[in-house]
Homo-oligomer: 127 residues x 2
DNA sequence: AATATTGTACTATTGTAGTATTACAATATA
DNA sequence: TATATTGTAATACTACAATAGTACAATATT
């Protein structure tokens, strides 16, 4: 289970911080498929926010096929790899990159600039 | 001069659409250094928005050292290459890429995924 | 100097995001 | 079947972003 934490000074909405922490928890292996998350009320009390704030986070992750909610029993980590087809994943990657390119080009950067920079960031990370 | 167009359905604020079109105009060479932009009133009438909306766009671009405004005479494309140092440009590129990485990783994509995709997009563009 | 033209500043209005309050509906469990 | 536990829905409050209305200040032009 994750040790959830909210930072009111982060400038990021609470519900989005919750989303990010769950996503990161999955990516890092701290959260396993099938594992139950805290109940909306439980996490709301723990984080001292309203239960709707937690609910909003869970709901958005359910739309993204990352969580499964079962009324009466709770919310669980879904097996998103089974639900998101490789094609859907590829399309998501494509749309993210296209959006990125649009923003970058408005600053005058080329695709090559971006690739170069990403390479450098990758290298400096593994020092 | 650019043929400005606003899309109310874009989900992007008017002033930001104006900003993007000017930036893209510069990047694509349609706007030259020293060239005068429409007056805030002129463009406001043309786009059927309030003059403050145009003013806001110009002001933000002036902060970014992309435009120069001269009260009484108008707003002009500045020689941003002289004003933005290579170091600043590099930092901008870096911050854009880091932000991009954060978003992408929340979807489970790695830096390598992104680089690969960008390469493919670059290749398919030059067909 | 007078006037027109330019950008600026202040204020009000509208819409939306984020969060909370409260009541409800579905399911599990005793 | 009764009750507790779970997520859901409707509503409202607050803050802020976006835009507009209006008046102002600086500069150019005559």
């Amino acid at each position: 289970m994750i040790d959830f934490k909210l930072d009111p000074k982060a400038g990021v909405p609470f519900y989005r911080q919750i989303i990010d922490q769950i996503k990161y928890g999955i990516a890092s292996g701290k959260l396993q498929v099938g594992e139950q998350l805290p109940t909306v009320r439980g996490l709301a009390v723990e984080l001292k926010v309203n239960l709707n704030t937690v609910s909003k986070a869970y709901k958005e992750l359910e739309i993204q096929n990352i969580l499964e909610t079962h009324l009466g029993s709770g919310t669980f980590i879904g097996d998103s790899d089974f639900k998101i087809t490789p094609k859907q994943k590829q399309e998501k990657l494509h749309s993210i990159c296209r959006e990125f390119l649009t923003i970058a080009s408005s600053y005058g950067f080329t695709t090559t600039d971006l690739i170069t920079e990403l390479h450098e960031m990758q290298n400096s990370k593994n020092k």
